[in-house]
């Protein structure tokens, strides 16, 4: 679906969609805090415009915002996301451990986050590691390599 959207609009579109969903959640929730949805929509609109303008700049951030990142810029994004996931895993482990220690009932979100990050890591190993390994050659199986001239 994303291929139908011009590259420069892709990230702003995702951002706008997420913001609208967040605003809708506040509106559906109702109550005295319904006005938060207005603030969310306003903030989302401003952020979407800012992201679109950033996508037109000649910078690494602009290239990523405009969905035209080259291999180095993609690598920067990949490393940043990996760091964010590492931090999420460590923070959730600390939160879970603290909740256990004080017998808090608020520890389950930390457990869920920790399990998701752990499962995501294993999924990544399965998808990007083992699956790309391929089958070994004879020389790598531990068996002696056969010479074409040996009897």
């Amino acid at each position: 679906m994303m291929t139908f959207i011009p590259p420069r609009l892709r990230k702003p579109a995702v951002y706008a969609l997420a913001g609208v969903l967040f605003a809708a959640a506040w509106l559906v929730r109702g109550g005295p805090l319904w006005w938060v949805s207005i603030m969310a929509v306003t903030g989302t609109a401003a952020g979407t415009v800012r992201l679109y303008r950033l996508g037109g700049t000649d910078t690494d951030e602009g290239a990523r915002a405009g969905s035209r990142a080259d291999e180095r810029q993609q690598l920067i994004g990949l490393r940043s996301r990996a760091l964010a996931c590492n931090l999420a895993a460590v923070a959730s482990f600390i939160g879970l451990t603290a909740a256990i220690a004080v017998r808090g009932t608020w520890g389950w979100p930390f457990l869920v986050t920790f399990l998701i990050t752990g499962y995501g890591y294993l999924l990544g190993l399965g998808n990007y590691g083992v699956a790309e390994e391929g089958t070994p050659d004879d020389a790598d199986t531990g068996r002696p390599a056969r010479s074409p001239v040996s009897s």
Binding site: D58, T59, D60, A63, A69, D70, E71, R72, Q73
Partner: protein, 70 residues
């Protein structure tokens, strides 16, 4: 790892932006490759070498100090 990207680019009178456009990468990536802060992937290394009509091992040398000047 040393490389001869800057030297070759200057010999041909190209700006970093022009080289980036020719290689299909960003100007920032050309700057990073020239300064040795970023090691390009094998496909990009071949693209760079072919653009300058050199082989990859002439363009990039892992332990070159003397050979580049020779």
């Amino acid at each position: 790892m040393r490389n001869r990207v800057r030297e070759q680019r200057r010999q041909r009178g190209l700006s970093q932006a022009e080289l980036a456009a020719a290689l299909g990468v960003s100007r920032q990536t050309v700057i990073s490759v020239e300064s040795g802060r970023y090691l390009p992937s094998l496909p990009l290394a071949f693209t760079i070498a072919r653009f300058f009509d050199l082989t990859v091992d002439k363009m990039f040398d892992p332990d070159d100090e003397e050979e580049a000047g020779a």
